[in-house]
Subunit: 407 residues, 2 copies
């Protein structure tokens, strides 16, 4: 079975509206210099069913430890986020700080601390300036609003090295009622499958139970946030939270489920692609299709090796159709195959067929890569399983950003 054609380059930024019954706020409390926005708050007016997926790193930030004990156990009212400091590798004090943050917000909103989830992103291993944060929370709560502008400002406050704010909303009309799924995300490096230094909150006004919210979130995250890699570095802070408050009057049932699941997956995919689009220093948006393997796990390990191969990425930077680096990256994954099982297309040009090089005009393929969109299509003859991942190239600018600044 042939893989699907690659997507067009996602648009860099969209304006998104909040689903019914949600508000967003923003603030600048001084974690970042120069009064840059560093606090974001997403609130549901009524208790919302929540679900979360978190980093699989063994070293996790204090906010991850706090939020994962709260999410999905009962309803939630709010997600508090700060940028500029990840509150990771900060021991017991980090946990206490994360708890203080949620208690302060709960106090302002008139709910329990357990109703508030928290995420932090930024440099690892520094204590939060907790007094500045608690002092900033009242005005953060005051800023809450339900306009697209409020959503944009809150998403801006989540940014670290991001160059644009990432928000998406999608809607569907079911039995005359509009259901909206909207999301905000941040992330530009320390991005690997399972997942990334990325934070995202997905909000919907559909009514979805706790168990269903968890299931639908995982279905949405698996082919999106779990299929992007910028540098293969799984961070300590990765979090995606789904809040479903039911304000639209539409509930999940066997009839609405395909539509709602698709909507959530669409929002996750658009946000994940925006993260790749904003990859630090990147010049190319790369779609990697690996097909014809015995299992999806095999396809995935090969796609990941290609996405994370520095020699593959630097060849793309140079618009060089150096396909040997791609085929040999597949070869070092440990997946068993013979060279005669493999064929490779690059931006639609066949370069390698059943283990033998295909003569091609290098300048023509290079010109196609220069568009900024690269499609690596590696096909095996061993089965029907396939996987699609997205990555960026590796540029001197990525190196500069990550060596000149402590991020």
């Amino acid at each position: 079975m042939s893989p699907k054609s690659p997507p067009t380059n996602p648009s860099a930024a969209e304006t998104a509206r909040l689903p019914l019954g949600f508000r967003a706020g923003h603030g600048a409390c001084g974690i970042k210099a120069n009064s840059a926005l560093d606090l974001a708050l997403f609130v549901s007016d009524v208790p919302a069913c929540s679900a979360g997926v978190f980093t699989q790193n063994r070293v996790v930030g204090a906010p991850v430890k706090v939020s994962r004990t709260r999410v999905g156990r009962s309803t939630s009212r709010a997600v508090l986020m700060n940028s500029g400091n990840s509150n990771a590798c900060t021991g017991d004090r980090g946990i206490a700080d994360a708890q203080t943050m949620t208690a302060t917000v709960a106090d302002q909103l008139g709910c329990e601390p357990d109703d508030v989830l928290v995420c932090s992103t930024g440099v690892i291993g520094r204590f939060l300036p907790i007094e500045k944060i608690t002092a900033g929370i009242p005005s953060l709560v005051e800023s809450l609003g339900d306009s697209p502008e409020s959503m944009t400002q809150a998403a801006t406050a989540m940014m670290t090295t991001d160059t644009f704010c990432k928000t998406v909303s999608r809607e569907v009309v079911i039995n005359g009622k509009t259901v909206t799924v909207s999301g905000a995300a941040k992330g530009a490096a320390m991005i690997a499958p399972n997942m990334a230094t990325m934070l995202s909150v997905i909000m919907t006004d559909a009514a979805i139970s706790l168990a269903d919210a968890d299931r639908l979130l995982r279905l949405g995250v698996d082919p999106s946030f779990n299929c992007i890699s910028i540098d293969g570095h799984t961070s300590t802070s990765d979090t995606v939270i789904l809040l479903a408050n039911g304000a639209s009057g539409v509930s999940l049932d066997p009839e609405t489920e395909p539509l709602l699941a698709d909507l959530i997956q669409q929002v996750c995919t658009a946000l994940a692609q925006m993260i790749i689009h904003d990859a630090e220093g990147a010049d190319h948006f790369v779609t990697v299709d690996v097909s014809g393997l015995r299992t999806v796990a095999e396809a995935r390990v090969i796609a990941k090796a290609i996405c994370e191969g520095d020699l593959v990425k630097t060849a793309i930077t140079g618009n060089d159709p150096n396909w040997g680096r791609i085929v040999s990256a597949a070869g070092y994954t440990g997946v068993e195959f013979e060279e005669s099982d493999v064929s490779l297309w690059l931006n639609g040009f066949p370069l390698y067929q059943a283990g033998t090089p295909v003569p091609f005009e290098k300048a023509t393929v290079s010109e196609a890569m220069r568009s900024g969109n690269v499609h690596i299509d590696l096909r095996f003859t061993l089965g029907e399983a396939h996987c699609r991942m997205w990555t960026s190239d590796l540029t001197a600018e990525y190196v500069r950003l990550n060596s000149d600044y402590t991020t």
Copy 2:
């Protein structure tokens, strides 16, 4: 148990003499432009016991396919190498070309084609200019000599993006007789454990049986060539060959074995360190010690993740003691631990102790990193196993070299 202190920065280049009964030759047949050296030949005057270790990539060059059927089965007389083209991903024609190369050398030396091993390094996926190579072999054989200069010229002909030629010799006197182990290697990128786009030939005038040669070579390669990574890309061509011709009159026996095994390991380690020292675009030589794990395999997977983490490497490029990137790289390996099990020293400075950050003077640690030698010493409290690996940093120059040129 505390790991050993890091080695000093290895010297960039050494002059090496050939063991008794070995000669080396060089030639420029036109694979490379501008009459650059591109053919090397190492010959034992008498049949030598041989052993080889080869890349673990599923996609391997034709010379690997040819040489691994010949090595260690009977004695060998010669190793032919070319640079500028790896003869990998070249299908049946590549195999035929590799066989033609060895047959031409065998004809000149008066031995069987099976007595000749072959290695190629350079760009993947292009057919060799086989007529140029066969035409160049007679003068290659004529150039054979036993001087250190011959060894240096042959090692120079192996180079691709290497900036200096890599030769080492070590000797020991046993019962009044001098035994020499000498080696030549090439490699500067596409370097990962198990192994690298690296070729090496190790020659000794000790008498070692086929089975013992295989065992001693693996003992030498494991903590050296299998413990270096520049970019995590296991190449299609990696080969290390050991030739032992017995010309010194010293044989392997229970008494001499520790000395000879140590000598071989010393030569492998010195050559492996030279490869890291010559890593493309690199500014830092990095020693990674990971200790206190339950098994060596655990220590190894963590050391490898640190060596291959782009965010770790770019922090080193910037002399930034950004230890969160190191600890979080350990965290995403899948090895089970708690943060309280981990402590980290960087160039002797304690930065993280049992899961809690240690206050430190950033400028002081950064200054120590500026020396160009970085020692990452990550200690766990889970067992006694440890592993030492070496890597380089990741610079804008590495990106430039690998995006501007097809290598």
